[in-house]
Amino acid sequence: MASIGTGYDLSSTIFSPDGRVFQIEYATKAVENSGTCMGIRCKDGVLLAVEKTIISKMLVPGSLRRAHIVDKHASLVVCGLISDGRVIVDRAREECENYLDFYGRPIPGAILADRLAHFVHLYTLHWSVRPFGCAILLGVHNGEKQGAQLYMIEPSGVSYRYFACAYGKGKQAARTELEKLSLNDKQASPQISCEQAVKDLAKIVVSVHDDSKDKEYEIEMIWVRDGKPAAMVPRDVVQKVHDEAKREAEADSDMEDE
């Protein structure tokens, strides 16, 4: 890499001569090594999913949490360094609480995403701190009128709203798969339901996972649905869907072999 050894890549407060901030790009690398995270906006809510590598069989299931409830109406998943992600989770909870305290209604997704993006961006501005080594997928539901929203915040502090998005190891393949679900039909609201999306995302996780290279993994999912508080998708449901997806994938590959 042209950046290495130049001395322009040692601090996030240094621009390289061609106008890049390498430390932010390196932080992004930490995210790209992480298990694939995905989010999808559905007709009845928003669903987030994350692939978690199981580092030891002695680990209690659900340990090393990546999907977090932020408020009754908001959830997020962390892609990248888990411990960095928790700082953003804490901040997000604080923002939700402050907004509700001050305005008497739950924080709108756009504002929460904006505030978190500001927060993340702040860590790219000062020499005394390092940028976050994680990206955040944010799912918020603001009732019937505003509906469900999905945002992604990157280590640089950039944030966009999405119909569906993916980040992490398998992001390219996952994005291609998500596009096939054709969710960005702007004429109509998304046709897919959360229940259906659970199956679709499990399938995508299975398809982007490289069995030969990667270790054992589990899927964690979280959703915010119409009129219901943000909640983890029950583990047994995820497990069932995951097993089905695996079986299908194996059946497919067997057919190819023949």
């Binding site: 890499m1 950046s3 290495i4 050894g5 001395g7 890549d9 040692l10 601090s11 996030s12 390498f22 430390q23 390196y26 932080a27 992004t28 690398k29 930490a30 995210v31 790209e32 090594n33 992480s34 298990g35 590598t53 580092i55 030891s56 069989k57 002695m58 680990l59 209690v60 659900g62 340990s63 090393l64 990248g80 360094l81 888990i82 411990s83 960095d84 928790r86 700082v87 804490d90 860590y123 020499w127 005394s128 701190v129 390092r130 940028p131 080594g133």
Partner: protein
């Protein structure tokens, strides 16, 4: 060496997106003498190997009580551990003062992990060079947690950290399926047997009354530390059961810290 450019500052990522300073702090944990934690459906047991600086020095204690229902075993820099221990005692006391209930283990582990994370993100700090095994019993039963300098924390059925802990880990991985139904004595035996794996490869060390300590916490039992003469029953237990030969210790596999684990 290019590598040196990126490994001297806690706020600097390497081009691969790694944080070398944090990884080095994780190494400090591996330098500490071994500690083992195991959990059944009712109890958690910690077993530790103590070191002494010289013949004339006492053995460094590695177990601390945090509250009636929690205790920790440490591996790494003892002085750093003392800071975290004090922090945890404070957290437990505050929680008890406000809610008149013991602090849940998961929350305690979370708050320690959050504290560790802060010192991985600021130029003016260094990470804590210590790993902890938290053992405790709360409203949701017995729990065993591990915390790392990276700010990660894990809940385990059984775990070993510290120098030569790979041997203990191998033993635990082989046997942990049977732990849930274990009695306290059986569980303690597994803990001490696992701990013995960490000394079996060196000829001049073995588990003795001086260098071994065991702690138990569980349903109806507050956290208690057994050391010196009190640890004798546990050592006798494994002596009485010599036929089971320990497996050869494997070389420690480098766990990549801070990367997606």
């Amino acid at each position: 060496m290019f590598r040196n450019q990126y490994d001297t500052d806690i706020t600097t990522y390497s081009p691969q997106g790694r944080l070398h300073q944090v990884e080095y702090a994780m190494e400090a944990v591996k330098q500490g003498s071994a500690v083992v934690g195991v959990r059944s459906n009712t109890h958690v047991i910690l077993a530790t190997l103590k070191r002494s600086a010289s013949e004339l020095a006492s053995h460094q204690k590695k177990l601390s009580e945090i509250d009636d229902h929690v205790g920790v075993a440490i591996a790494g820099l003892t002085a750093d551990a003392r800071v975290l221990t004090r922090f945890m005692r404070n957290e437990c006391l505050n929680h008890k003062y406000v809610f008149e209930q013991p602090l849940a283990l998961s929350r305690l582990a979370l708050s320690v992990a959050d504290k560790c994370q802060v010192s991985t993100q600021r130029a003016s700090k260094r990470p804590f060079g210590v790993g902890l095994l938290l053992a405790g019993y709360d409203a949701t039963g017995p729990h065993l947690f591990q915390t790392c300098p990276s700010g990660n924390y894990y809940e385990y059925y059984a775990m070993a950290i510290g120098s030569r802990s790979q041997g203990a880990k191998t033993y635990l991985e082989r046997t942990f399926d049977s732990f849930p139904e274990c009695t306290v004595d059986q569980l303690a035996k597994h803990a001490v047997l696992a701990l013995r794996e960490t000394v079996s490869s060196s000829k001049d060390t073995e588990l003795t009354l001086e260098n071994t300590a065991v702690a138990i916490v569980g349903k109806g039992t507050n956290f208690v530390i057994y050391e010196d003469d009190e640890v004798k029953p546990y050592l006798d237990m494994i002596d009485a059961d010599e036929e089971e030969q320990p497996a050869e210790a494997e070389p420690a596999a480098a766990d990549a810290p801070m990367t997606d684990a």
